[in-house]
């Protein structure tokens, strides 16, 4: 097992499948009266959030608590970051407090990679700039597998603001590892430079792609990251790349609709599609907790790196 989760590319097919299988077993336990496991008792997980987040932070917090870890939540607002403390100094503070794992969200791409060099604990990337968001890709893959039964050969369309989307990049990398067939659909202005090197096809025409898909994933239009105008008007964007009832009907009968949240209802997805039974948006949140429990368990379950003396089979 790897010692950090910084990129979806860190996971080979075997490890990624182990995470998904572990999450499946954990999901089976979600109906129990006692949802908590003693597995990470005495371990400390720090949620280090430099960017706003609702579901990811809460999801990681719930995951860590269900494994009995102690959770410390840190958000940039109201901390010494507003007094100008650098990431490195914050990291050294966490190190001094003995964090076993640091879950970091940061507006700068690559911040988790730097952090991993400064702290001893496991680092989990919970979204860095426009770069990666590996646990989102894992929970998306989990959702696809549980709804459609497989990932190998699945045809997945990722639609919208690919340029600013860490979700898209992590999904492309992970889905390619797991054998799915990904097509990115976006206006030319929202396709990243160098996309030719990604293991995915690119299309500018959503209606041509829809009938061939098993999964369509709408991305949030990230207006907070847009420094130029990438499309003329919101109405035009919605007309060409928004998921509406007509496009839902053009999908094969078994196909599902996904969105990582938060949604701009009426922009990349209409309310009737978002709330339809074929939408997995709420399910994705539930699955997120189980997948993050699996990640924390596999990263921390045995992670005392100094204790490498395996005991003879204790039964």
């Amino acid at each position: 097992m790897i010692s950090h989760l910084l990129s979806a590319a860190d996971l080979d097919a075997e490890t990624a499948t182990l995470v998904l299988d572990t999450a499946t077993e954990l999901a089976a336990a979600a109906g129990r009266s006692v949802k908590k496991f003693p597995t990470l008792r005495g371990r400390t997980v720090v949620n280090l959030f430099y960017e706003d987040s609702t579901r990811t932070r809460i999801s990681f917090e719930a995951a860590a608590k269900r494994l009995s870890a102690d959770v410390i939540n840190f958000s940039a607002k109201g901390s010494s970051v507003s007094k100008g403390e650098s990431l490195k100094d914050t990291a050294l503070t966490l190190q001094a407090m003995g964090a076993d794992a640091v879950v970091i969200r940061h507006q700068a791409s690559g911040a988790p990679h730097r952090l991993a060099k400064w702290v001893d604990g496991a680092v989990v990337n919970a979204g860095d700039g426009t770069h990666e968001h590996p646990t989102q890709a894992l929970l998306d893959a989990y959702t696809m597998r549980s709804r459609l039964g497989r990932l190998d050969g699945l045809r997945v369309g990722i639609v919208g603001d690919v340029l600013h989307s860490r979700v898209a990049r992590s999904n492309v990398l992970l889905l390619a590892t797991l054998g799915a067939d990904v097509t990115l659909v976006a206006p030319p202005t929202l396709v990243p430079v160098g996309v030719g090197a990604w293991p995915a096809a690119v299309s500018y025409d959503l209606d041509a792609v829809l009938p061939k898909l098993d999964v369509v994933m709408a991305l949030r239009v990230q207006r907070e990251r847009m420094t130029a105008s990438y499309f003329p008007t919101e109405r035009e964007y919605a007309r060409r790349y928004g998921l509406d009832a007509r496009r839902l009907a053009a999908l094969p009968e078994h196909a599902i609709v996904m969105h990582p949240g938060p949604m701009n209802r009426g922009m990349e997805i209409t309310p009737e599609v978002a709330d339809s039974p074929r939408s997995t948006i709420v399910e994705q949140v539930t699955n997120g907790v189980n997948v993050r429990m699996a990640v924390l368990y596999l990263l921390l379950g045995g992670a005392l790196k100094s204790a490498t003396t395996p005991q003879e089979g204790a039964r």
């Binding site: 299988d21 077993e25 006692v34 005991q311």
Partner: protein
């Protein structure tokens, strides 16, 4: 034992399994139970359970994966054959409750599968292949208490090899096997390994 009958299918299995079956040829391996003996042992435990539980009343069998699960299922089948009564069977994965995860690293979880009527107020019989340090059973008792409140808990094992590290004992033992700590006991079951044997290996590694 009937070594002549056993050796033929073993050779075929070895050819199919590739590297996994190599240790069979180690001269230090000792077969403790063969297929017929495993079957007789399961039958005996099934009878003992019937005696001690008043014919299996209010009793649930919970196997501890990997090999406890098929053992529990076999016990239930034998008990049904003997009495016509089908006991509820389930599986209890204890991985998340183990105390040696830090030493041995995280492992893949296996299925926990409780009978639909649950375990509250029932007599739960935990079933495992080998009883050694007792730590797995300690973990199972912790896991059970998170799942409900059984009226009582008993333990059935195919092999008790000694060297307990905790005050735990089995209620039903298929075979008491004195071992040294350097030896290892390998139970193979048809459902998991394709054949039924118990082998004692002198593990120098």
């Amino acid at each position: 034992m009937t070594p002549a009958m056993e050796s033929l299918p073993d050779a075929v299995a070895a050819a199919d399994d590739g590297p996994g079956a190599v240790d069979r040829t180690e001269p230090d391996d000792r077969r403790i139970l063969d297929e017929a003996a495993v079957s007789r042992t399961v039958d005996r435990i099934a009878h003992q359970i019937l005696e001690k539980t008043d014919g299996g009343a209010e009793t649930v069998l919970l196997g501890i994966p990997t090999r406890g699960t098929p053992l529990a299922r076999r016990l239930a089948e034998r008990i049904e054959t003997f009495t016509g009564v089908r006991l509820p069977v389930g599986a209890l994965d204890v991985t998340l409750y183990r105390d040696d995860l830090r030493l041995r690293g995280p492992r893949a979880l296996e299925r926990t599968d409780l009978p639909s009527d649950g375990i509250d107020g029932r007599r739960v019989i935990l079933v495992d292949d080998v009883l050694f340090s007792g730590r797995t059973i300690r973990a199972a008792l912790d896991a059970l208490s998170d799942l409900g409140r059984p009226r009582s808990v008993q333990l059935a094992v195919l092999v008790d090899r000694g060297h307990r590290e905790l005050p735990i004992r089995a209620d039903y033992v298929g075979k008491n096997l004195p071992t040294s700590r350097s030896e290892s006991v390998r139970v193979q079951l048809r459902e998991v390994d394709g054949r039924d044997t118990v082998i004692l290996t002198r593990a120098d590694a």
